[in-house]
Subunit: 209 residues, 3 copies
C-alpha cells in the first residue's frame, strides 16, 4: 500500500511551487524591463525568496529554509533562467505575471500560515505572517524596479492572502484534516485574486476623496 504523502511534504511542495512561480513573475517582469541575464536572475530570486525569508526571520527560524535546503535556491534559479529563455512562451499566456503571482500568493499564504502555527504562534499573528509571506516577495520585486507594489495598487490582493490564512486557521480550529484544507485555501485565494482582476472588482475608496 503506497504511503499517503504527509502534510509536511505537501507544505514543502506548496512552498517550492510558490518559490518557482514567484520567481517566474519576477523574471518575466525583469525581461520586460530589458534587464540582462544577471538582472533577470537577481529579480527572480528576490521575488521568489523574499517572502519566505521574511517569514523565517520573524518566527526566529534562522537560517531561513531557503538557506538550508538547496531545493529553494534551485527552484528560484531555474525560474530565473526559465523566464529568461522562455519569456516569449510565458507571455503568450494571458497576463502571466498576474496568474503566476496569484498562484504564488495562495501557496505562500497557506505555507506561511501553517509554518507560523507549527512554530507555536497564535492564530492572529499567524494570519498576519501568512499575509506578509504571501505579499513580501512581490513587494520586494516591485520596489526593486521602482514600482508601487501590487499589494497597494490592486483591489483584492492582501485580502486574498488573508482569505487563505483564515481558511487554514478555521480548519485547524475545527479539527479538519490539514491537506484538503490547505489545498482549498490556496485555491480560494488564487481564484479570488484572478477573478477580482478579470471582473474588475473594486474595493471601496475613502469617503470624500
Amino acid at each position: 500500500m503506497p504511503a499517503m504523502p504527509d502534510v509536511g511534504s505537501l507544505l514543502l511542495a506548496m512552498d517550492l511551487i510558490g518559490v518557482f512561480v514567484f520567481g517566474l513573475s519576477g523574471g518575466t517582469l525583469a525581461v520586460r524591463r530589458r534587464l540582462d541575464l544577471f538582472g533577470v536572475v537577481v529579480l527572480s530570486m528576490a521575488a521568489a525568496l523574499a517572502g519566505g525569508v521574511a517569514r523565517d526571520l520573524l518566527i526566529g527560524a534562522t537560517p531561513p529554509s531557503s538557506f538550508r535546503d538547496d531545493r529553494y535556491l534551485i527552484a528560484a534559479l531555474v525560474s530565473g533562467f526559465a523566464a529568461f529563455f522562455f519569456h516569449g512562451t510565458i507571455n503568450r499566456l494571458v497576463k502571466p505575471v498576474l496568474v503566476l503571482d496569484a498562484v504564488g500568493l495562495g501557496l505562500f499564504a497557506v505555507a506561511g500560515c501553517n509554518k507560523a502555527l507549527t512554530y507555536g504562534m497564535a492564530p492572529v499573528p499567524a494570519i498576519l505572517l501568512a499575509v506578509l509571506t504571501a505579499c513580501g516577495g512581490g513587494v520586494v520585486r516591485d520596489l526593486l524596479v521602482i514600482e508601487v507594489p501590487r499589494v497597494l495598487r490592486e483591489e483584492i490582493y492582501a485580502s486574498a492572502a488573508l482569505l487563505a490564512a483564515l481558511i487554514v486557521v478555521a480548519g485547524q480550529q475545527l479539527g479538519l484534516p490539514e491537506q484538503p484544507v490547505a489545498i482549498a485555501a490556496a485555491l480560494a485565494a488564487c481564484l479570488l485574486r484572478i477573478l477580482s482582476v478579470l471582473r474588475g472588482w473594486n474595493a471601496p475608496r475613502a469617503p470624500g476623496t
Copy 2:
C-alpha cells in the same frame, strides 16, 4: 493607595501610541494617494509596525512584539480604519502627517532605546537602534509609495530621534528615574522635529555643492 504604573507599562504605552500615530501617518498618506481600503490598511500597518519589527529582529527578540502581543496589531489596524474613515477630520488639523510622524518619532526613539538597553546592548548601539526604530516605519511607508523617505529629505529628523536616545542614555548613566526621563526625551524629539519644520531650520549642505 493606587500602585504607580511601572516603567514597563509606560514603555508599552509609548510603543502602542507610537504604533497608532505612525499607522495614522501611513493611512492618511495612503488616502491622499487614493489607495483603496486594503491599500490604506496595508500602508498603515507597514508604517506602524516596521520600525519595531526591525528593532526586535536586530536585538534577536523573535518573534517581534507585534507578532506576540495582539495589542500592537489591533492598534495598527484601528489606525488604518481610522485614517480611512476620518481622514477628512484628520486633515483639517495642520499638517497631520508631520505632527503624527513627529509624535511617533519621539515615542519610538525612547521605546527603542529602552528596549535595546534592557536587552543588554551598549549605549552607542542602543542609540543607533533607537534611531532605526524611530525612522524605520516612515522609511518603509515612504518607499512603498515610491517617495524618497522623509529621513533623507527633511532637515531635522534622524537627529530628533538621536536627541531622544541621547537623553534616555544620559538619564540612565546619571541614575535618574526612568519615567520622567522617558517622557522628557519623547517630548524633546517631538518638539525639535515640529519646530524645525515650522521655523524652517536648515541643516548644512556639503561645501561646494
Copy 3:
C-alpha cells in the same frame, strides 16, 4: 618574532574597510543629490551597514556585528562625514562611486562568505549569502534615493560577488591557506567589476526582446 595576523583579523579588516568604502559610496551619492548633513550620514550608514546586517540576521548572529562592535559604527560615521566634507576631492578621482562600490563589493563578498562558512552553512547557501552581503548595502542605498539598484542595472555586478564567493569556497574545499585566497578573491571581484564597466562588457539580454 612578530605574530602573523590571524585570519579573523584579516576578515575583520576587510569587513571594516568594506563598511568604510560603501559608506563613502552612499555619502557621495547623497551629496550629489544635495541632501543635507544628516541625510548624507544616514545614507552613508545605510549603504555601509545594510549588507552586513542582513547577513547577520540571516545566519542568526543577532545582534549583528555592527551593533556589537563600535568599530563598524565608527567606520560608517567617519565615511559619512568624509563624504560630506571631502566630496570634492573624492569626485576628482575617476568615477568614485563605481570604484568604491567595486572595492566594497569584493571585500563584503569575501567577508560574507567566510562568516557564513564559519557559522556552519553549506557552500551553496554561503555563496548566496556572500552575494547578498555584497549587494545588500548598495540596494538599500539606491532604493532610498529611488533609483533602480545598480545590481539590476549593471552588466557585471552580482556576478562579480559570485566570483569572489566561488574562489573562497573553492579555496576552502582545496584546503588552500585562507588569507591569500581571501585577498585574491576580493581582488578578482573588484577587478572584474571595474573592468566590466571600463570596457563596457555586456551580459546577454533575453532572446526576442
